[in-house]
């Protein structure tokens, strides 16, 4: 490594301070990395990416720690630990699928640190919260020097481990529409064990029904079966206008399997992922339906 930069750590206490640190490092050509829960960042800097950098801890900002449940909108700060989130009963009743996706990230110990924002910024194809966020129509709130900008989660991740933020920006949090009545969400993933694994495939579903029990809106997103989580319009279309019965769910299952373009790796084969992602969509769809109609 040619760089003379050494490791640094700083924990700014305001958005402006954070942005100015990022801008200053960027102008000097120094590498920075945002640190939230650290459960991905610290593993990476110990294994395949040891290059020194300035770690900018964003856990001291009030914005990144905020959870706000409004009449129309819900805001979840980027650094709120999943364990903290899952103690919020109101949020749990509004977005059970999203909270389950956050709860699936690692062990109790990992839950004490890992955040939805961090999971998203890590931008792994297998990130559990990403399909759940997409299903729930979440929008990223990104801080930059000209104010905040907003990007839909499905447009945020641009490839394996990459996203649309510049080195002078950071994620403040996520904005989600407050679910309307008769709306339910669910996220399921497949792992070989019961805990501690990375998703082999994942599916998030959100469905809204009218008073007659007909699905009026649906969003389906799948993970770990393409370079980024995918929003599968065909699967949603298969559900809208139906009661989300078995036939509709089977159609959505097929749509997800068709949409998947997975790879074979140590966690699963192409064939396996293609099949199982459909199964997960079908099962998650049934859970989301039951929640919406409960």
């Amino acid at each position: 490594m040619a760089s003379t930069q050494s490791y640094g750590y700083t924990a700014p206490t305001s958005v402006d301070e954070t942005l100015s640190i990022l801008a200053s490092s960027s102008s000097k050509g120094e590498r920075t990395q945002i640190l939230a829960g650290g459960t991905d960042v610290i593993v990476q800097m110990r294994s395949f990416d040891k290059e020194p950098r300035l770690l900018v801890d964003v856990k001291q900002l009030s914005e990144t720690n905020e959870v706000n449940i409004g009449d129309d909108e819900i805001f979840i700060g980027a650094a709120v630990a999943s364990g903290v989130l899952n103690e919020n009963q109101e949020l749990k009743s509004l977005l059970p699928g999203l909270l389950e996706s956050a709860d699936l990230i690692g062990s109790t110990q990992i839950q004490g640190r890992a955040s939805i924002g961090g999971n998203l910024c890590n931008s792994s194809p297998a990130g559990d919260t990403i399909p759940a966020l997409i299903a729930d129509s979440a929008v990223c709130v990104i801080a930059n020097s000209s104010g905040n900008r907003e990007v839909a989660v499905e447009d945020f991740v641009t490839g394996v481990g990459t996203n649309c933020m510049t080195s002078e920006e950071f994620l403040l949090g996520l904005k989600l529409p407050r679910p309307s009545a008769r709306t339910g969400d669910a996220y399921l993933r497949f792992i070989p064990r019961t805990e501690m694994d990375i998703a082999v495939a994942g599916a998030g579903v959100s469905v809204t029904f009218d008073g007659d029990g007909v699905c009026t809106k649906a969003r389906v997103s799948i993970g770990a079966v393409a370079p980024t989580a995918l929003l599968v319009a065909e699967a949603a279309d298969a559900l809208v206008g139906t009661t989300v019965d078995d036939a509709a769910l089977r159609a959505a299952e097929a749509a997800c399997s068709d949409a998947a373009s997975p790879i074979t790796d140590k966690r699963g084969t192409v064939e396996y992922r293609r099949k199982v992602v459909g199964v997960l969509c079908r099962r998650a769809g049934a859970i989301a339906r039951d929640r919406a109609l409960a």
Binding site: R193, K266, Y272, V276
Partner: protein
Amino acid sequence: MAEALDLKAIGTRPIRPDGVEKVTGRANFGADMVLPGMIHAKVLRSPHAHARIKSVDVSRAAAMDGVYAAISGKDMPVEGANDLGINILARDKALYHGHAVAAVAARTPALAESALDLISVEYEELKPVLSIDEAIADGATLVNENMYTNGDRSQPPSNVAAMQTIERGDVEKGFAEADVVVENEYRVPTAHQGYIEPHACIASINEAGRATIWCCTQGQFDVRSMTAGVLNKKVSDIKVIPSEIGGGFGGKTTIYLEPVAVKLSELSGRPVKMVMSREEVFRATGPTSATLCRVKVGAKNDGTVTAATAWLAYEAGAFPGAPVGPGCMSVLAPYDLENLRIEGRDVLVNKPKVAAYRAPGAPQSMHAMECTMDDVARKIGMDPLDLRLKNAADEGTVAPYGPKFPAIGLVECLKAAKEHPNYLSKPADGVGRGVAVGFWFNIGMQSSAEVRIAENGAVTIMEGSPDIGGSRASMCLMASETLGVPYETINAHVGDTEATGFCNVTGGSRTTFATGLAVVQACEDIIAQCKERAALTWDLDVEQVDWQDGQAVPKPGVNADVSPLSLADIAGSAGRTGGPLLGRASLNAQGPGASFSVNWTDVEVDRDTGKVDVLAFTAVQDAGRAIHPAYVEGQMQGGAVQGLGWALNEEYIYDQNGVMENAGFLDYRVPVASDMPMIDCQIIEVPNPSHRYGVRGVGETPIVAPLAATSNAVRDALGFRINDLPLSPPRVLAALEENA
């Protein structure tokens, strides 16, 4: 005999003597030790699975600020360039990805790590040999150009380092007599012991050439002799102090770091500490062999097995020494067979050198046999336990590997299983149940023990078997039983190579048996001395004194008006009767006594994802005599879960270049708490006639049967068999689609 014993301490479940240290964080494990002036070393490892090392230059690393010493294989003595020495530091060739090539000692671990980047190694890449099929194919690339099968130079060199055959009777005749014949081929993947504590040591050597090594090991005396061999030193120049050990399962019966640390200490004049990362543990230590096994069993319709053959090939890694011998010994051992043939092969591949793993070799070969037996039972419509009972080895049966079994407990285990409520309750719809038998022959070997009595009568045991699973508690219980004094007055210590007499490794399920025998005999030495002291005190002949309930008493009919003398009484006045009480024993224990088991498990398979859930698991095993039943159950439960992990998800996954892709606990998937049910245990006690209290080793047998039990349960649930392990979701789902 042993049944008639009126036992007071043995069979109880007291708290282990080292317990408080371990629940409070005080106990010192391998990486916990620090020494003044200590520096830290790191190892540079080969990025290639097979390459000629054309040159290694450590000079730039050695010149870096904060670096004290840097070495490569050529800095090690040529006399130590045996398989062990070459595995520790490569010489001419890198033989697997992760093979140690050079090492650096520096002020901090981080500095040592960054100095590794300054070492230049010139490699000439060679084609790696990555499977048994590749290794034994005609024209295969040779892992070692000088390897001749069984040393026979009349044949061309080969990747098959050794072959062995066990034969009895006439198998062709046996198969001809059979009503059904089942033949199948099974693959079991490479698995790692997965001890939670990475290898660690500190070495310090002085200018007189005397080295001291602190390390986590299953055998301090083995570390001493192996390190001496690699460094071409005398064993008497090396002292090894064992720390507490954070799991071994066989993987800490060999060495990886110690000679390197000693060499770096010699060059730097400082104590050198080395701690492996988890990744290094996976890439360069442990694992056990992947295998390819073909088994054929012929049986009559009444269940009588008329013949059995086994063809077994074991991956050794890059050096000979796969557990093919024990695999051959075990495969047919549960059965009384007239006609059998077992053929074993030790096969070199470009993977890490295998190390012992709990019943080395037996889980793989017995998986093949027990799956085949399950298919035989199905074909003839017999209960799988009845089929085993029909053919079970018992006292007097000649084992396939030669000796006649003394009293063994297989039949008792099978009968207990048949009556067990968990077996009598039939599995629910959709749930599969699988049965299998496990076996390990166990070993004896050499042990020493000293028993020292303090002036208040407290007992200190000094022995040499590193305590992996509560063995100090067992030693104290046997001493309590023998001496007749309370367990709470006894403590046990594992001594260093200069504090205790020679002792073989903690392995082979020998500790409670062999070191236990030494402790019992050392206690008997104490009793003999106490009787002499009492006789002296009472002015009686020693023949007139008895030892009862921890006291010297006159024998019945001896006319002496004296009060009994307790151990404390005698110890308190020992200065007046001949000096301190010190008992000792050393032995080469014979007749370890084989331990058999019967396991069954109930599983459910998700037909949409291929996931296998273990709903219940029951282990029945002959322990001879359970000294501390909780730790016997602990062995049974721990072995069961290791076996279940191997059956379900554990495997080394390699890319086409021979690079392990899952070198971490994230993707080398050992079972977690939420994967497992409670493991129900039933201990059977058929005493081993060769041990004072009937002990058989129990540590290894438990991992053997779970592999086939799981396979058989999945077979039962699915309606068809999957031969290979692990039964990971992708494999099961692919099989479901194939059989749809």
